[in-house]
Subunit: 612 residues, 2 copies
């Protein structure tokens, strides 16, 4: 029944050969790779104002656009840098690969850890920002914001467990509609403003006593706005998914994405400036802007909100597609559990999907659905991977040389310096508000991944056999083993186990019984005797209900008697029920014994299934 339910929810299993890859052209490639980056427009500007306004009040708007311009400048630099990563790594150049290949294991793991944390935060932040877009339209839902974010995550998880394909249409249509909606918003807003149809109300803003210098406030605002750049690296990871000529197409998509991000981010920010929008905890800046331009409650207002939710959901979905590929790559290298390499029944990486679901849900509830609290964690992780990617590329050019490598190294070097400075700024100004969490998590992940790798190496070392000669020696020690068959009562399951033991050809068979009643034990002995087997019957009496303890002691003694060269087998019947719901009703004892005995040398527990 549970299996049926699972199939209903998740879909029936797919065969391995059903795995296919869609290749993207430029037009459809843009939305697939740009949704993450473009979606950050919905919160980045607001984050800047949230830093400025409490300190500078209405003066904030003088500094707002310059900061936006600086971030767009940073975007342009990043685009030129990633253009080179695309050319150099047409097989896909994520930060993990580039750092691992060029800088070594530890930088690779740091990049990998930063990327994993980035994926989790992409989901959490996008879900919270999506929930904020909903609550901005329906303020009565405000107290359920964390639940709304959780609902978005749950839906995405469900879709991905079913094996949601990242189809070009699914991404393309909403992303283009979102871009069109935003352009409509910007153009309408500008016209309305130019015609004098809107004048911002003279609002009085309470300004706190500033404890920081103006410079520090600007840096904090800049660091907050850098969240607009998250997702920029997506194209460089996915080069092999483009149609031929892949590198050229990927580069074109990269430019187009940057163009859209810059256009929408600057346009929306300029409007926010003109309309002097003040973000608050109840309504996002974009929703207030849409309200001011189209009128709160108008159809276009709701279109803006709905499209914002959808583009944020698509952004979160990129993590569901991206992280499992990364963890499979890292698991193949031995840094994560090997089971992450294989795909699940629906040919997706269900473990990775469930990990994303659990960790992002915890974040959403821990931070009560507030994206403002999550964003400081986000930016620091993303910029660590930017920095390692750029620095790795510099080393790549110096090693590989090739055509015009000096120019290329200088460009990536410039990228390294710029992302490095930005990272330092982010970590310093955001350290207490969350960057420390990210750093600790990355350190913990790197430590764990090294441990895992070390473990796999030890195991491989332990299992290795030097030569066939050595193997022959090991086999030469073969001696006949002994089997113990624990018995509770003479029933069909026991007889099947007995048959199996006799069929195996064991030369020494012991039937072993534990009871709290001597008479019953003797009766069982007599019944077994009647069977006329070539087997010893032995029983122990215990007044307590510690059957397992007594059995374990007996096994230990027998194993000692046999010595290290002969193996002892405990063979037990195991009732098998086919209905999932009936499983908890059986075999607790068998399983507990197996677990307790698996660390004994030369002792194996064999279970013979008996189908009810």
């Amino acid at each position: 029944m549970i299996k049926k339910l699972k199939h209903l929810l998740i879909g029936t299993p797919l065969a391995d050969s059903e795995l296919g890859n869609e290749k993207f052209n430029i037009f459809w490639g843009i939305p697939v790779f740009a949704s993450d980056a473009i979606s950050s427009v919905s919160y980045a500007g607001e984050e800047i104002l949230l830093v400025l306004i409490p300190v500078l009040g209405m003066l904030s708007y003088q500094f707002f656009l310059p900061i936006v311009a600086a971030i767009i400048g940073l975007l342009v630099i990043l685009i030129f840098c990633y253009r080179q990563t695309i050319a150099a790594y047409p097989q896909g150049g994520g930060a993990y690969i580039v750092a691992h290949e060029n800088l070594g294991q530890t930088p690779g793991l740091v990049a990998g850890g930063a990327l994993i944390i980035g994926y989790v935060l992409t989901v959490a932040v996008s879900a919270c920002a999506g929930a904020a877009a909903i609550t901005s339209a329906f303020p009565q839902l405000l107290k359920y914001k964390a639940l709304l974010a959780f609902a978005i995550i749950s839906l995405l998880t469900w879709g991905n467990l079913r094996g949601l394909r990242e189809s070009s249409v699914m991404f393309g249509v909403p992303t283009y509609i979102f871009i069109l909606t935003m352009i409509t918003l910007i153009v309408t807003g500008l016209i309305k403003y130019a015609l004098g149809l809107y004048t911002p109300e003279q609002q009085v803003v309470a300004v706190q006593q500033a404890e920081d210098t103006l410079m520090f406030v600007m840096l904090r605002a800049f660091a907050s706005g850098c969240t607009a750049l998250t997702g920029v690296e997506a194209v460089s990871n996915g080069v092999p998914n483009f149609k031929e000529p892949t590198v050229k197409n990927a580069k074109t998509v990269l430019y187009a994405m940057a163009g859209f991000v810059a256009l929408v981010f600057f346009g929306v920010s300029a409007l926010i400036n003109l309309y002097q929008i003040q973000p608050n905890s109840e309504a996002t800046a974009v929703s207030q802007l849409a309200g001011a331009v189209f009128g709160r409650g108008s159809a276009m207002f709701f279109v803006v909100q709905i499209m914002t939710v959808i583009i944020l959901a698509l952004a979160a979905n990129t993590a569901y597609a991206g992280m499992p590929l990364l963890t499979a790559l890292m698991a193949k290298d031995g840094f994560l559990p090997r089971r992450l390499v294989t795909r699940g029944a629906r040919l997706n990486f269900s473990n990775g999907i469930l990990f994303l679901f659990a960790s992002s849900s915890i974040l959403v509830f821990a931070f009560n659905g507030d994206q403002h609290l999550l964003l400081p964690l986000y930016a620091s992780g993303v910029f660590i991977s930017f920095l390692l990617n750029q620095y790795g590329m510099v080393v790549h050019w110096i090693r590989e040389k090739g055509n015009g490598w000096k120019i290329k190294a200088i460009i990536n070097g410039f990228g390294t310096v710029v992302t490095g400075i930005t990272l330092v700024v982010i970590v310093i100004v955001k350290f207490l508000s969350g960057a420390w969490v990210t750093l600790i998590c990355i350190i913990a992940l790197v430590y764990m991944m090294r441990k895992i790798r070390k473990h796999y190496v030890t195991v491989a070392e332990d299992l290795r056999i030097e030569s066939t000669q050595k193997a022959k020696e090991v086999i030469r020690n073969v001696a006949s083993g002994k089997v113990i068959l624990p018995i509770q009562s003479l029933n069909r399951s026991f007889l099947k186990t007995l048959n199996c033991a006799l069929g195996c050809g064991f030369t020494e068979v012991e039937i072993y019984h534990i009871s709290d009643n001597k008479e019953r034990a003797e009766a069982l002995k007599a019944s077994i005797g009647e069977l006329g087997l070539n087997a010893v019957f032995h029983y122990d009496i215990t007044p307590y209900r510690n059957m397992n303890e007594v059995l374990l002691k007996h096994v230990e003694e027998e194993a000692d008697k046999l010595g290290p060269n002969r193996s002892l087998v405990i063979m037990m019947g195991m009732l098998v029920v086919t209905k999932q719901l009936e499983k908890p009703l059986h075999n607790q004892t068998t399983q507990r014994l197996m677990k307790e005995l698996e660390t004994y040398q030369n002792v194996s527990v064999f279970t013979v299934p008996y189908l009810i």
Copy 2:
């Protein structure tokens, strides 16, 4: 490491013989068995007023005390009835036993189901009421009420997993202090009132348009107040735990308990009446009373609140002690999974404890920590078990006859009628506000328990062997089996498995390999050949990563070839790591295969542990 952590949290395992039972005398028996009943004083009066006040306003106080008196009258009847259960069932006469023995299986299961639900609700309601006592003292914690209730449940769960003994001191001291505190409250309150030191403020109460008749409102108030009687049956369950003369001592404790409940319940209610306390969602009636009598914020005010929290925690703890004993009893009868019969590492019933923890926590969060919403579910379950116990006793006397059985039957018959009427009242007036949930849960539980019993009976039937002769026939079919050893590479784990297979004495051994690379498979074949074994080497090539599918298909074919009389064994090495944290890194494939193969007839999977 996880094991260490577990030991640190839960304590080291205890030997079976460390189980002991404390026997109670009268003085210490009272608190152990009365804490549950007495604790309900802290919410029962309030529940009555919460029904009356919205309809009758200040007129409520005219009806309040008569309703309290009626409930105390019901208490007296119940005491006389349970006195007889104690005499008739000195081995402990819970509703499950009495109903099962006298009324048959289904009534027994209904009583058992009602008791299980009652235990879960005891925990949930007591935790919420305890949280309400805390938030009444500290209103700033009001929005964390559900979390506070969850914290109380978590603490109790932790204590019980560690094997918290229900020691007489643990219960005795706080219960007597609580009773003393309440008497102090009542006496001080009465004196203060008599001296005219307190006059209730003239409060205006908004009265709703009453849609119900006065009679119906009274019945609803009565039904709500009946929660004061929960816990009354405790003594009759625990008769064997009293010192000799057990029955006499148990009866004395029963009277004393009733006396305390009546005294405290009536005293507190009378004071609430005099002081015209109006319960609200922020402060409990008892806390307002304590505030009015001792002054809010005074030391005695906090003593009342703290003692209320403690007595409610003790009440919840009775469920932790009682439910596992009940489920063990029912599991022995085959109505619940057999694993509930055995105790865990600390000699407690950890499954039952975790079940109580999970289900009561879900209730607490689902009802947002509001005991007012939970109480309608509670009373109906409790009165079902009262009714079945009383009716079972009537049948018991009629069957057994004995000294003065007619009088006894009449007394229990009167109890049956009274509890029956009360139950009908509760179900009718509380149906929509929660009683339906309880009824559905009981029906579901009874259905499930019958299914479980049926399953165990089928299994026993299936396993049974009519005679030794029949057993001999089964064994006569023994034929030598075949073993297949899947191999990935020639390593130490494989060699150990091979040794074990050879030691078993299998006459037919096949080594089987699956690869996506023919050259590597041939190389492995050559290595195996060099070993000079009496075994067949066979390999399959598959271009996909569907190794498991191919293996399963091969096993199926081989099993078909062997026919139904010869058993096929798949023997695989299993890497065993001793550190709990390393376990997820291994053996996913082995375990999945075992699960998939366990339903094949005549196929067994044997795993040979290889210790790293």
